[in-house]
Amino acid sequence: MLKKIIINSIPILLILIVGIFLYFYKLEKIPNGFYIDEALPSYNAYSLLLTGKDEFGKTWPLVLRFYGSYNPFLYTYLTIFPIKFLGLTIFAARSVSALSGLLAVLVFYGILRSIGLIKSRIVIFISTFLMLISPWLILHSRVGYEVSLAFLFLLLGVWFLWLSIKNQPIFFILGILFFDISTYAAYAERFIAPLILISFLIVFRKKILSKNFRKYLIWGILIGFFFEMPNVWLITTPAFFPKGDLFSSDILIAQTEKILLLPKIIKIILAFLREFFSQYFLYFSPNSLFYKADHDLQRSIPEISVLYSWMIVPYLFGLYDLWKKRKKNISKYIFLLLLISPIPASLTKDPFSSHRALPLLLPIMLVVAFGVDFIVKKRKNLSIVVLFLLCFISLVFLYRSYFVLLPSLRAKDWQFGFEQLATIVNSNQNEKFVFDQSRNKPGYINIAFFLKYSPQKLQNLSPSTLTDHYFTGEKFDIQYTIKNIEFRPIVWEKDIYKNQILVGDELTFSESQVKEHFLTKSFEIRDPINQIIFLGYKTNPTKKCYSEKTKNILCSESSK
């Protein structure tokens, strides 16, 4: 008995060992840099840990305002634990996400075991391994934000709903519960989870409305509604829907205006249908899945797509096999997940948004699993050898793209440079720095993170009325001074008359400006491929004032 348990556990142990390496090795260094979307939840977790309030002074908020994105709370709150034990470090910031990604793989294994139609253990092992090494999951697990955490809970919800149909209706309640939790983890799940649930109820209505299922349905709905009450309240505020500008309204208007002859309402409908379906089918196109997915450099890995190129073969075989078995419940469920998952992401204007569409990874990998099973059934021994070889080759290419190329080629896209800037600022406490924020993403939170700036002090910098109007989406100009660095646009007419170091990127300073204002280069921060990230120029008010024919009023102030 014990021997059997050990033998059965070997595949999953192997996956765990490889997984721990893939998901945690050099987690603080790769990706190279620390993106604003990582700095925000981790610094706010630090603030909550020390003061019970977020960076704006709001006590344990339901959603975190951040930079106007109003992120659900779960990831930030869970990040408190690693920060408490590991300190405010990049590793701690990313560890909850990394662990979630790894656990999601184990849940996927459980889903595969429970499907029933895939009986071969070797197929289940290979399919789970492919999920583990999928670039899509690795990229969004080794980060300091919430996407893989939400994915984990969504997977659990999907799994328990399936078990309720297959085995025990009581699992329906657990399924609803995990769907509820996922809506507090990430924004996209607020839309995907209800869509999946409603579709599930429609497709499997005969089973769900049967006598022995009914009471679990009622309890599930009651429990689900109870746990969604905070979200229901949030719908009444602007904080529920802060990402309205992501929708492609400007593209729709442009397309509507081009259409000839037809009434306006028909034009709008047609323009919307084309725009939506062009985004939607992109998520199923082999070109996107296996060659070039997300065009956003921060959300992709160099020279590799979200899945490996060769996986197009099991993908197509899997689709064919599932279509043949379309009358079976599992096929209906997988098709339902496939069709629903990309809907919210398709409503935005970003082509193939890999983080918003992460839920799609589950049905795609289930399709691939069916494809692998189909191939193995045709030619067992040969196909197993080939599949193992392909897994090994995929690992080689993953290593190349993720562990070698990503840290150097995409450092700039991951906001590399703030750690180095924080070191310079900290080592020059007598100097005053001005960080140009006219074009760049806000940098105050990254600096606050690396300087381990006091949360109480940061809270005092935001308007005092903000906590009363926290959920209204009220905008304010974040121009902070953290220790000796100020975050605001450079005002050239004034700043050159003060003794300070101006910090910006290579477009902030032109040669003529440097000459004209007698600026001296104080430092430069470059990324691993030698691209300039930040430049620091020291002003020279004395020389500037001396050079001016007519005396500037600011000169007398600077001389004081």
């Binding site: 047609l270 249908l273 084309r274 379906f277 070109n287 060659y291 197009i312 204007k349 070698v404 080629l409």
Partner: protein
């Protein structure tokens, strides 16, 4: 054969008219070969006439294609290659050389690029929107409303494997090797897609739905004509 579905599937798209505009004879060849694929679907026999027509289409496309050499890199590709090589730490320099400079891998990357350029749903149904290629003038091919019918009609091709090899596999292999940079689009795949759309449309039996579909199809074509 249902005439209305035939009209919608084979000539109810902008691509065939774009080809007619550029080369009338080529348009006729595409039209006839699509009709032959549909006609041959039920029998497992190889139509010699179809083979000849199809070879004409493939050779025509080869002739018009700006071939991408498998080993030659453009200046930008060479610069990117150097940047990638410099990313490898010294102890992985050999590994980097193998993956970034060896002929076998360069060929593999090029084949990969060419293959997936063809395997792009958005290229055929949305003029590559929303991922339009910068240096290429995209144009509308099939109406997006035909995409679900294309997917529905695909399994029917599997009944006649010989024709499938001719109209899909052979051009896929050829144009994976040489690329599909051609101003009138990868025309060799036209018969395959048009016939799949027809097979998908054939599955509609409801008359009311058919009339509605025809009206919507016409509206969509008008929309796409406006964008062209």
């Amino acid at each position: 054969m249902n005439i209305i579905w035939l009209v919608l599937g084979v000539i109810g798209n902008l691509w065939i008219w774009f080809v007619f505009k550029n080369n009338f004879l080529l348009g006729i060849v595409l039209l006839i070969s699509s009709l032959l694929v549909i006609k041959n679907q039920k029998s497992n026999k190889f139509s010699l006439f179809l083979i000849i027509l199809f070879l004409i289409i493939v050779f025509w496309q080869i002739n018009l294609t700006k071939t991408k050499p498998l080993l030659k890199l453009t200046e930008i590709e060479r610069a990117n290659q150097i940047t990638r090589l410099n990313s490898y730490p010294p102890y992985l320099a050999r590994f980097g050389h193998i993956l970034e400079e060896r002929k076998e891998f360069l060929i593999l990357y090029r084949l990969n690029e060419n293959f997936f350029e063809i395997m792009n749903l958005n290229l055929y149904f949305f003029a590559n929107h929303p991922i339009e290629r910068g240096a290429i003038k995209e144009f509308e091919k099939f109406a997006y409303i035909s995409l679900p019918f294309f997917l529905l009609g695909l399994p029917k091709h599997l009944r006649n494997k010989k024709t499938l090899i001719l109209i899909l596999i052979i051009p896929l292999i050829i144009f994976t090797m040489i690329g599909s940079n051609i101003s009138i689009g990868p025309i060799s795949f036209f018969p395959f897609i048009a016939s799949s759309i027809y097979f998908g449309l054939e599955q509609i039996k409801n008359k009311k739905l058919s009339y509605l579909l025809i009206i919507v199809w016409f509206l969509v074509l008008l929309q796409l004509f406006s964008y062209a």
